[in-house]
Subunit: 345 residues, 2 copies
DNA sequence: TCCGCTTATGGAAGCCTTTCCAATATTTAT
DNA sequence: ATAAATATTGGAAAGGCTTCCATAAGCGGA
């Protein structure tokens, strides 16, 4: 039924090995012969059978990515970077979105029991300990993205440092009463950003009032507030409202652990009649599109680069078949816009 | 090196056919035999070789989706629907994001010359005429999503009708001077939504002033304004600004062809000191997350359902190997929030 | 116990490549 | 012109699974 290399070989009057060599650009073939084969291919409308090729070469040409089902610029950019690099390698991207953490396990089980990809990108998720061994035993190259890991390759942004710099930026502008709004604390980046905030405060000799820190898990547990792991606009707004209830005691500047939280916070401030940055300075984290639109100062994460790097690294692992583990950290960059400014002016 | 069914067969003391039957749940096997095979599989740590299976069965278990590189809730929800349904069928999703239309062609070429998926979802993109024949000849099941097509299966929302109803909603509230803000006019949905708007106006005996219609392609061609095919917040804002320059002649209500445009428009209105809905009523299209947050009345598109349906349909085509072409249209739903209200109150 | 029918089992053949080795053609050096 | 070295070529074997057909085992009835 379908045209195979045997048909092509017969038509071109050569052997199947020669056809294969012609197709795969082997130098071991005379140009005339190659031309003859190519003609035959065109005449017969031959297309190679991908699965047979994959069986023979043991190379699948697919990288799988597992990631949470979150909205947002962050993942969009990350995917852009991933796609870009993958296209260069002529690999395809298999994506699997996960809404509940349990589903990660199910997917890992499936990936381990059927080899359907050459490598795996685990994005913004924590791999349960028991799977780490399994992944290593299976010799499946894995790169963890947006999370740290001590036994697997990982690529992440310097969350602690970024938060530290963001907070320092506010301090430099003369703020003393600096609050922080965060998504759910259990996530790794949330923790690290808190650390950075606290360190900057400490080093500047400022007190970190516990009531100035509000994370999504401290708010109501409605679905709206909890979506995206607490990194959402509603949480930012509600958290800010709560801070504003403190009256005179309220912070004069806010470090938000993500731009979308910052935007929610800005909204609450506006609703309360406060002007930004005069009455309240706000700095975010991410640099999403809206941040630019709303003139939000923020710490930019190199998301696109992170995606590219993740792919480059996994390809390196696939090709070198190395077991070596490397941790990468990318730096953040301050994007100064008008939501922050010299205090008291 | 790796464990094959031959190893399993030997260990279990059966033939390879029996192992295959045990694995694939064939009824043609004695329970005890099956148990013995399963034990052997566990003892040896056997995992089936996916590519060999695919070669033998000619079934790949992968659906590919091509879509533009746009941000947003729309695609997020669509993907959720796709993923959900695909998981039920135990198929994987290969995604390919495209930034420039030319790249669609490159991808189609590749898809046609190597069979790497059982079916193809083309999302929010127009397939060049010459590829339509090729796709049909290759007998690759295709479903076009978010666009209409006369020779291929397609699933789309009733854009014309949705826009008609949205406009009617404004008319019902007593508005006579209704403007429209749109993304680039060349896209199919943009055209259809304009048609619906115009029809509602016509039927109500209202004049459609040409200067009340502004689309992104009529604005500056900066990257910001042109991103996402003109469906972005900047375009909405700039378009609204322009409408407001008309002074007394300006529309009192706006139908925006997407929520994000509506949000940009609302921003411009606020900046000009106008209150919504009192000074200006705004209705959007999509029902993205922010719409709820900002209390924007909108026409909701059933994006999740669209995704599910697309997969269900493509699976149907794969299984039935039918050539039959079907067009589906999903209805929109008015979500009334506070950006629209009885006029003049 | 034997026959005929049903159910279970073994394994060759087929799916379509790539790769490797032996064989042949060509070129180079002498 | 000829041996030696090099460039091409052909095709068997391998890759691991499913499937189909022939064979064997099991079972009920006579």
């Amino acid at each position: 039924m379908s045209v195979t290399i045997y048909d092509v070989a017969r038509r071109a009057g050569v052997g199947i090995g020669t056809v294969s060599r012609a197709i795969n650009g082997s130098p071991q073939i005379r140009p005339e012969t190659k031309q003859r084969v190519m003609d035959a291919i065109r005449e017969l409308g031959y297309t190679p059978h991908t699965m047979a090729k994959r069986l023979a070469t043991k190379r699948i040409g697919i990288i799988a990515a597992i990631m949470p089902f979150y909205t947002g610029h962050f993942y969009q950019e990350l995917l852009r970077g991933i796609q870009k690099s993958l296209t260069e390698f002529e690999y395809d991207l298999l994506v699997h979105f996960v809404d509940k953490p349990e589903k990660l396990n199910a997917y890992l089980d499936r990936t381990l029991s059927e080899k359907r990809c050459d490598g795996l990108l685990v994005i913004s998720m924590d791999i349960p300990e028991e799977y780490v061994d399994q992944l290593q035993n299976a010799r499946l190259p894995v790169v963890v993205v947006d999370r740290g890991h001590d036994r697997l390759d990982c690529i992440q942004v310097e969350n602690e440092r970024g938060a530290y710099l963001a907070t320092q930026h506010l301090i430099r502008f003369g703020h003393h009463k600096i609050g922080m709004i965060s998504g759910n604390r259990h996530s790794e980046p949330a923790k690290q950003r808190y650390q950075g905030y606290a360190r900057a405060m400490r080093e500047a000799g400022l007190t970190v009032k516990p009531e100035w820190f509000i994370s999504a898990d401290m708010l109501e547990t409605t679905p709206k507030i909890q979506q995206n792991d607490g990194f959402n606009i509603h949480a930012g707004r509600v958290a800010m409202k709560r801070l504003l209830q403190m009256g005179e005691e309220r912070p004069t500047a806010i470090f938000a652990a993500s731009d979308i939280l910052a935007i929610g916070a800005m909204r609450a401030a506006n609703e309360a009649g406060l002007r930004i940055p005069d009455d309240l300075a706000v700095i975010g984290f991410d640099d999403i599109e809206l941040a630019d639109y709303l003139s939000l100062t923020t710490m930019q994460q190199p998301m696109y680069e992170m995606g590219k790097m993740a792919v480059d690294r996994i390809m390196e692992k696939i090709e070198a078949e190395t077991e070596e583990v490397r941790q990468f950290r990318l730096t953040t960059r301050l994007i100064e816009r008008s939501s922050t400014r010299q205090a008291g002016r």
